[in-house]
Amino acid sequence: MTTSAPTAGSTGLPRSGELPTSKPRRSWARAVRRWIPSLVLLALILVAWQFVPGLTKTEEFIFPPLSAVLDRLTTPETLQLYFSNAWVTTYEALIGLGIGLVLGVLTGFLLGTFPAARRAVYPFLVALQALPKVAVAPLFVVWFGFDLTPKVLVVVLLAFFPVLVNTMSGVMSIDQDKVDLFRSNVASRWQMWRHLLFPWSLPGIFAGLEVAAVLALLGAIVGEFVSAREGLGVVLQQQQNTYDTAGVFAVLIILSVIGLLMNLAIRLVRRTALSWSTSEGAEL
């Protein structure tokens, strides 16, 4: 065998020590180059969106072309409406996500470290999760009125579980070696959580948080569907009721953008928090 694979690192996985050896290029130029595939794909999707409905003779109230939707998004008056309502929805989602995150991580640690507690409580949490939020949201309205609380509760219910499961799974996958290191130093349970299980589970917690973030948005919308004065869920229903499909798509785009921004924020925080890890540090 005298030939070898033509390119090194062709597995696509990071090669140890393969950090760039040349002088760092201007970082904005690199960032732009990194995002080219994404932008190209975006352009393709947008072009398809503009022309495919026309070519397939899909009517505008079924699937409006991009231009019709952009029209909504550029009319100052509707834009103003979207913005103020988007803020309401985002606010609900963020508060609920925050509560869900804290609850999920704490419960994850508790259930991950106390097997008896896990056996006692986890089945009920699963059962609670299996309840359709659309069906329980009305109950929240009855109990907590028409304000922020019921929407935030729906968000918490949805956002909590992925964080919990991922934290628990992280905690339970800890190396025996590392636990022994802490045990031999007579670490308190809190120290074990704070200095071992938390950094160890962080990649999992971030994965859970990414899932939780999109669910938080869905939760806020579902909560608003049941009863609300403002929020994108209200706008969405309004536009569905008036058969304004282009408007519905405009709201969907705004929701996507909010979801993306939340995801971006999470990934930025993660990049800092997990900078010690090669694979995470190299990418965004």
């Binding site: 109230f61 229903q237 009721n241 008036t242 058969y243 304004d244």
Partner: protein, 340 residues
Amino acid sequence: GPDGGPAGADGKGGTITFGISTPTMTANFVALAVGKEEGFFADEGLKVDDVFLKDSGTVLQAMAGGKVDIGTPTPDVAFAAMDQGQDVKLIYNWARRPVAAFSVLDTSPITTVRDLAGRTIGVQSISAGTTTLAKASLTQAGVDVNRVKFVEVGLGAPALDALQRGRVDTVVQYDAQSSAQISAGAKLRLISPEGVEDLFATTFVSSSAFLTSNSAAVKGFGRAWSKASVWALANPEAAIRIMWKLYPASKTGDGDKAMQNALAIFKARMDSAVNVDDVTAKKIWGQYDESAVQHWLDFAHQNGITKSSLKTSDVYTNADVPDYNNFDAAAIQKAAAEAK
């Protein structure tokens, strides 16, 4: 329709996909079950493929996508769709009165729409069709809408709870909801909206393309529906039992209670909207009143539901009404009375 529609090119026979704008079978649509069970659709050579959809908008979109042949939206959404350029035609005037009303506790001092001045009104959402109707009715009764407070209470239990706890003075809701609440034990009184009595509600629509290519099927469907309605009116309990048989999920709760519930819903709709005097008197099923259509169009335009001004002649047709009514009502009533 182009796909999923009747097969027979001669228009006789085939399958009609019937899109219903409530997510589940209720006693409102008991005629559908009766028509199937008693063979009224089969008599026309039709097979009805019924689909229950979330709301009127979904029905109309499904129709635009060729997935539904005949649908049952509320007129506001149908007009909005026409306004957007969709090919929709009203073909069978079913609920001829508004089917929404103000519900108040029976202990409430409110007895007329006028009494609602300065009160708090619970609505499903600000953009719901019922809200628009309520505003129109308030305006007709001389109440300043700006002096009334609207609160979004959602549908169902939260709405009733808000009413009972006094968070709102009244709730605007559909007949099916109020009668279900009454059946569930709530002590409610209904106040019909005034000045808007001719704003008909849930109505049957199709596309003019479908009407042209499947004229016979549409006529047959309308006739079968009329026959089934007559049958159901003649023997509601038997009709409801047929519904339970064909749609087992529609029977909720046990025996007597379930029958009471279903009858209440059926009667509310039939008494207030479908079986109104002109139908029984003149025995004309499905006919639209030109002036009512005009009223609706004006109302829709004023409330921003439509942007362009639609012409009455473009939005509805009474062309098939004679066919809808071309049957022996007495024979059907007799057959119904004999059914168990």
